[in-house]
């Protein structure tokens, strides 16, 4: 990024600025003509009388002449408007492009920050800078050259006119400009300093807000809200003071400007008047100069405004640049997408005198020297605080040594492109971050290194849209890679294509022991029968086999089969009413109570009010349960009928209904609350709000619903049909044609085993696991358990078959038996040549080739595992 704002403008927009300048200059004659023409119309067309006259060789009458001039005037108005429109759109586009470029550059810089820098920089600050703070910059860049040119040009034109009238008066008009030009920058500098301070303080404020939000539990737990309020008040107070000072100074500048501007007419009246009295100036000229001076003040004001804005923007820019250039940033070219070959890592990993010192001089790693071969299984033994984790991160180049160097196969690690370190080294820490997407996206995340050009398969319109996107991205200096593009380079990862990737994914899932979990998730997924005719056909086969098997005594009472004439305790009230599931947008399960047809059916069987009463009670229970939970808490997702965003709405609705009384409740509140009971599953939630009479009437409603369903809504419900696949229901529900009984723990296990057995028999396991890969993991993976997240992260690293796999306590949250199995499997896997494991205890180093013991950041001992284990056995310690 350029050091100065104008350097930046020059580098990235000089062409556009020149075009703007040319267009602005080209508009002046038209502007001038449009000011001149009214005078001609009045003096020569309306007020004159010597007609007919010659007009460019034509004899014209007065009315005709007037018509011609008016037409020209209209044309000029259009031309001026056209110029203005073009220049404004052009400026706007230029500004937006520059804004896009700036944001993109800042984000790119952020990705290159040294990781420890994020400990000192708050997320909120960076977000505020990239989103809000850069916004005015784009607007200014559009105006950067054109505005002063336009206003300056206007100013000069008027000045020229004034000097033409009288030199002395001309000089009088600009006599005070030097004073302004001297004083205003001086004052402006003070405003700038304050503006800088304001930006810094607002950032601190953002930091405080961030701290308050992330520390909300602490605040509640310690009753420190008042303290945080006081702190916050202090900061907004500081901002208030600064802003007030800015206002004072800004308006003082304005005052000064206005005063000086009014001072000039004083000269005109006195000096000009004197000259007129003495006959050295005509009265008309004085009036002309006075009126010209009125026109002069506007461009001059605009110029001064522009200057103030320029200074303001310059300050912001300087601060952005300063913030986004921390020491120790990753060199830019190391993070660029590479097109050439990416070498494999082999040979020796050598660390010589590597130290890692933080900003206050604490050494996490101190003069560490060690060497091992890729192909060895290495244990870095050291508990928390020993520095073993830092060494692991140094090896993965997530941290950079402050002294010493690491090399792999003779190549310095520091100068390897991220294409090498990120693809050939796999790193998994104890803290896992998943992206919000499907399991498949998360597992393949490590393969999404760059967009792979693909054969053109899209249609004409798609291609046009793409090329316009690519063009615009290029104009703003953004990458032209598109997130929707194809991102997996199969050949690079030794894969023939999607089928082989699929095979590797399945194998990896087995290795990290996630296959079973994905099988369960797959059973909860849905299948489109049109696209997977074969699969759904086989699932129906499984259904009929299962039907017979469920007769066996051990499966009694574990599944509640769908039966049109029986109220099903294990499915939601909505499913009970529909006896099916909604398809498309015809019926929205979350707002079923608002649907006119549903309302009609419920009214017919006399259930409308019951739904409202039950809904009100349910809402009260939910609000009572959840109001103390922080918004976005995972309990909302897992247990609640109401999302954290909607909770306040329900709170308000309850209050309103209680005030208005049940009878006079607002229809909107009624609808909102009446929709809640539909989401309850009687056997699961056991709120005890629905009795047998309710169930009977709901059964009536079920029949009424199906019988009276209008033709237009037929396609909106997929009814449960014993002989057809239900596209809206999960695979499991389709196999069962019923629901697992909630109150029986065996149901899950035994029926699960039965389903697995049947599906294995039909050779469908891989297909179901594949469906499971489409499961959305939620924000940060919140819909997965912690061990599942960790296994997924390990799978993600394994999928790219790294030459060097580094695991920093990556299995900590998996149960001990699972940990041991995973470790054995990975250590014996020949396809993973280099492995470095951080372990907390030397005694766990069995199965490794080489052991490095880290204590207090120093290498306490290292050597082949057999030696080290012998020397460090407890007996040796006792001796």
């Amino acid at each position: 990024m350029e050091q100065t704002l104008f350097g930046y403008i020059r580098r990235y927009s000089w062409r556009e600025q020149i075009i703007l300048l040319v267009m602005t200059c080209a508009s002046f004659p038209f502007l001038y003509a449009s000011l001149e023409l009214p005078k001609i119309i009045i003096n020569q067309a309306i007020a004159a009388s010597n007609f007919p006259r010659n007009f460019y060789g034509f004899e014209v009458e007065q009315a005709q002449y007037l018509a011609i001039l008016c037409a020209v005037f209209l044309l000029l108005v259009g031309a001026n408007g056209g110029f203005k429109y073009f220049v404004n759109v052009y400026k706007g586009r230029l500004g937006e492009r520059m804004l896009r470029r700036l944001r993109y550059q800042l984000f790119t810089q952020t990705l290159r920050f040294p990781i420890p820098h994020f400990r000192r920089t708050s997320q909120g600050e960076v977000i505020a800078m990239i989103t809000a703070e850069v916004e005015p910059l784009g607007g200014f860049i559009g105006d950067a050259v054109a505005q002063p040119a336009f206003q300056g040009g206007t100013l000069l034109t008027i000045l020229a006119f004034m000097f033409a009238q009288d030199i002395v008066l001309g000089i009088a008009a600009i006599a005070l400009y030097p004073v302004q030009m001297y004083l205003i920058p001086k004052l402006q500098r003070q405003v700038n300093a304050l503006a800088k301070q304001r930006v810094r303080t607002v950032r601190r404020l953002a930091e405080r807000i961030g701290e308050g939000i992330s520390g909300i539990e602490e605040i509640h737990a310690n009753d420190t809200a008042e303290r945080h309020r006081a702190d916050f008040a202090g900061w907004v107070g500081t901002i208030y003071d600064i802003r007030l000072q800015i206002y004072r100074k800004k308006f003082f500048i304005k005052f000064l400007n206005n005063f000086l501007a009014q001072l000039t007419p004083f000269f005109f009246y006195s000096i000009g008047g004197y000259l007129v009295i003495h006959g050295e100036l005509t009265f008309g000229a004085l009036v002309a100069v006075l009126s010209a001076y009125k026109d002069l003040s506007s461009p001059w004001k605009e110029l001064l405004d522009w200057y103030q804005q320029k200074e303001d923007t310059r300050v912001k820019y300087d601060q952005l640049v300063e913030q986004f250039r921390p020491a120790g940033m990753l060199a830019e070219d190391l993070q660029q997408p590479v097109t050439g070959p990416v070498p494999r890592l082999s040979g020796a990993v050598v660390a010589s005198h590597v130290s890692l010192e933080d900003e206050v001089g604490v050494k996490a790693v101190d003069q560490a020297s060690f060497q091992f071969e890729i192909g060895q299984r290495v244990a870095l033994a050291g508990g928390p605080g020993s520095g073993a984790d830092s060494i692991a991160r140094l090896l993965a180049r997530l941290l950079h040594p402050t002294a010493g160097a690491i090399s792999i196969g003779g190549q310095p690690l520091a100068s390897m492109p991220e294409a090498v370190t990120g693809r050939r080294i796999g790193f998994v820490g104890s803290h896992v971050l998943l992206i919000n997407g499907t399991l498949r996206d998360n597992l393949c995340y490590g393969l999404y290194n760059r967009e792979v050009p693909e054969a053109e398969t899209v249609d004409e319109r798609g291609r046009a849209a793409r090329s316009s996107y690519v063009f615009e991205a290029g104009q703003s200096g953004n990458t032209t890679s598109r997130i929707e593009g194809h991102w997996i380079d199969y050949a690079f990862y030794d894969l023939a294509g999607p089928a082989e990737l699929q095979a590797r994914v399945l194998e990896t899932l087995r290795l990290v022991d996630l296959e079973g979990d994905l099988f369960s998730l797959g059973l909860r997924g849905t299948v489109d029968p049109q696209r997977h005719e074969q699969l759904t056909h086989r699932i129906l086969q499984a259904r009929s086999v299962l039907r017979k098997r469920l007769q066996e005594r051990r499966y009694q009472g574990l599944v509640e089969i769908f039966d049109r004439n029986i109220y099903n305790q294990n499915m939601s009230v909505a499913e009970n009413l529909l006896f099916g599931l909604p398809v498309g947008k015809g019926f929205d399960l979350d707002h079923l109570g608002e649907h006119p047809y549903v309302q009609k059916v419920l009214t017919d069987v006399g259930l409308r009010d019951d739904f409202f009463v039950i809904g009100l009670q349910m809402a009260k229970i939910m609000v009572d349960l959840l109001r103390d939970l922080p918004a976005g808490h995972e309990f909302f997702d897992r247990f609640s009928f109401i999302s954290s965003n909607d909770l306040p709405e329900y709170q308000a609705a309850i209050r309103r209904v209680e005030q208005a009384g049940f009878e006079d409740a607002d229809p909107d509140d009624r609808n909102l609350l009446s929709s809640l009971p539909f989401r309850g599953v009687p056997a699961r939630h056991r709120l005890g709000l629905m009795d047998a009479a309710f169930e009977n009437r709901l059964l009536q409603a079920r029949h009424a619903f199906a019988d009276g369903l209008p033709e237009t809504l037929r396609a909106s419900v997929a009814f449960f049909d014993a002989d057809a696949y239900n596209p809206a229901a999960s695979v499991q529900d389709n196999i069962l044609f019923g629901k697992l009984v909630y109150g029986r723990q065996q149901a899950q296990r035994q029926i699960g085993a039965l389903i697995a057995e049947l599906l294995d028999g039909l050779n469908l396991r891989a297909a179901i696991v594949d469906l499971g890969l489409d499961f959305n993991v939620g924000i940060g993976g919140s819909r997965l358990s912690v061990p599942q997240r960790q296994k997924l992260a390990i799978g993600r690293a394994l999928l790219k078959r790294p030459d060097l796999l580094i695991l920093d306590e990556a299995t900590a949250s998996i149960d001990p038996a699972g940990q041991a199995a995973l470790r054995a499997a990975l250590l014996h896997d020949e396809r993973l040549p280099g492995q470095v494991w951080v372990i907390s205890d030397v005694q766990q180093a069995h199965g490794f080739d080489y052991v490095i013991i880290v204590e207090g950041g120093r290498i306490a001992a290292q050597g082949p595992a057999a030696e080290i284990l012998g020397a460090w056995s407890p007996d040796a310690v006792d001796a």
């Binding site: 539990e217 737990a221 229970i621 009572d624 349960l625 959840l626 109001r627 103390d628 939970l629 309990f635 897992r638 247990f639 699961r684 939630h685 056991r686 709120l687 005890g688 909630y742 109150g743 029986r744 723990q745 065996q746 358990s785 912690v786 949250s813 149960d815 001990p816 038996a817």
Partner: protein, 156 residues
């Protein structure tokens, strides 16, 4: 049993007795209500310890399978007893088999919910500590008694 009854059952259990009302309700709402027939297993030795059970009707038998397939009976727990919390706290597999003795009804609390509520609330954490400490004390006393009954070990 419904949600309101579950709240009152949980309130009588020492570990949860100190929990505030909203947490208790949340616990009741988020837990599952399970029933078992005589002899059915709640969990087996070696299963992942991912949930806590609270008995509210009937009895369970805790037993250990020996390497020679013999079985030793460890304990019999009944109404308002809690089991499985050790495995959840220590992230360990189940250390014993648990079977229903006669018809049984339990509340099953998911392990992570249990941990969140117990660690997120100092009172509950304290309650949990007290229960575990008492148990440790009891075992230590039993161990002392046993040791006194045994002949002095021969020093090798």
């Amino acid at each position: 049993m419904n949600y309101n009854e579950a709240v009152s059952v949980l309130r009588t259990i020492p570990v949860f007795a100190t929990l505030d009302s909203p947490s208790l309700k949340l616990l009741a709402f988020s837990s599952s209500y399970l029933s078992f027939e005589d002899g059915e297993a709640l969990c087996h030795q070696g299963d992942p310890g991912d949930s806590v059970f609270v008995v509210y009707e009937g009895e369970v038998e805790v037993s250990l399978v020996l390497p020679d397939n013999g079985r030793i009976h460890l304990a019999r727990l009944g109404r308002n007893d809690i089991l499985g919390e050790m495995a959840v706290i220590c992230n360990l597999p189940r250390t014993a088999d648990v079977h229903a003795c006669g018809p049984l009804k339990v509340l099953k609390i998911e392990g992570d919910v249990f941990l969140q509520l117990v660690t997120g609330n100092p009172d509950a954490a304290h309650g949990m500590m007290r229960v575990l400490a008492e148990r440790l004390l009891r075992f230590t006393e039993q161990y002392e008694q046993l040791r006194r009954c045994m002949p002095d070990p021969v020093v090798p």
